[in-house]
Amino acid sequence: MANIEFNLDRVAKLAMLELTDQERAKFQEQLPSIVAYISKLQEVDTSNTDAKTYLSDRVNVFRADEVCDSDEDTHSRLIAAFPNSKGDALEVPGIFE
């Protein structure tokens, strides 16, 4: 992978990040070299290996779908931690024009 294609604007948009001009200049230089560094993994032969996120052999850990452990205090703290609210209602901006 000699040529690293790194479209900064496309990635910043996907990442929902506003970058300053200074950050833009810095990242344009740094990110392709980091990508070049991590590309050395291609040297490892993994043709016979499974890709696993978790190494533990447990799968699908569920609990019963029951309401538990909530109290008035936690409830009010959760609402207080939300940026905008009216009474018990959480206020969010509209997503349709």
């Binding site: 900064l8 990442a15 990040l17 300053t20 040297e43």
Partner: protein
Amino acid sequence: MKYRTAIEIRNAIEAGEITALEVVEYYLAKIKVEDKAINAFLETFDESALESARKIDAMKKAGEALPRLAGVPVAIKDNMTIKGQISSCSSKILENHRASYDATVVKRLKVAGAIIIGRTNCDEFAMGSSNETSFWGAVHNPWNLKKVPGGSSGGSAAAVSAGFVPIALGSDTGGSIRQPAALCGITGMKPTYGRVSRYGLIALASSLDQIGPIAHTAQDCALVLEVIEGIDEKDSTSLELDEKVVPELIEKNFKGMTFGVPREYFIDGMDEEVRKSVEEAIELIKQNGGEIKKISLPLTDYALAAYYIIQPAEASSNLARFDGIRYGTRAQTDNLWKSYLHARGDGFGAETKRRIMLGTYILSAGYYDAYYKKALAVKTEIFNDFKKAFEQVDVIVCPTSPAVAWDIGEKFNDPIAMYLADIFTVSANIAGIPGISVPCGENNGLPIGLQFLGASMQDGKILRAASAYQSLTDWHQKDPK
């Protein structure tokens, strides 16, 4: 204060030699004066700490049995939730975020009578190896204020090292407990993945993150681990434990234990003094009954590259929730898209943005298989390498960090040089195995760390090795001047 460790403090309170209130007052006063130069604490909880201390003293007075950490002050890294307190992850985007619940580890510490004395500085969202990416400023190494303390749990490590608390909690995703412990001359442990619940730990990379203790001694680490470990229904990756860690570690030698020395952990470019100190430690182990075997972990060189794929990928996904809608400050714009961009652009620092960008790139269409899936396959191979190694040896012994603490600012603008600081620690996270760093020497007045790695769930074995090492050496008894 003549008591230095959690065990000494707890026993002195039980024996009536000192009250919990005196202990807490002593530490709060010390932090107030001396932390100005170090910046380890973002906040101390004076009122609630004093109140908790009075409760312990009342229990003692009433003749009640004292719990295991009764009256012992503990500092919590700013990425774990403490009910009613700010949990900012040292980030501007969460600067006013007040937690509505206790992390499981915090809850368990409180039940055990520990006094939550404050929250500590760290790299922003635990991304960094020097504690310079914090929105609240760099932490200074107590051994030399011009040097970094390591990271990302730099505040917790500096706090223990400076004598501001006997114990602290950190989190370790790629070395963030062990590397600052090494650079600050103290003991820090990353338990087996799943041994300690991550509920209430603000996620960086969920498949790698693990909470662990930072202390002066392996014995204190064992005590804290015993309090915080064990299955938790709120973390589906937490594990049922077959055996509890033995809190009383009495071994004074290494008889019956086989130690593996991986040749890939002694590389060109590492600090010669680090190499020398670690080799001396290995010689000491040999002289005191340990069997030494040379081993090979051939994929070590690739572990760091795999880490800097898996970690940013998971981080970019975990940090997507911080968009000003559910947390933090909502940007006042007429356009929703712009409000996301602004909240994130303004709220995250440069290193966090760099890793979010890297992770987003790795997970984007066309690159996912080449990077992320490949890294997961390499992760499995690394796990298999360790598995094979632990069929021959009980414990692996190696350096924690290739260098001692460096100057603040030195690597700040060179991300790859900074990432290389984690080269000896990331493998344990990738393989999910436990590791502990203990002080084993000094170079120009700066501490050197020795690392013990164990097989999955063999946390007790590395604690025993570390504790035996500390019974034969006094590096862990030294304090910065």
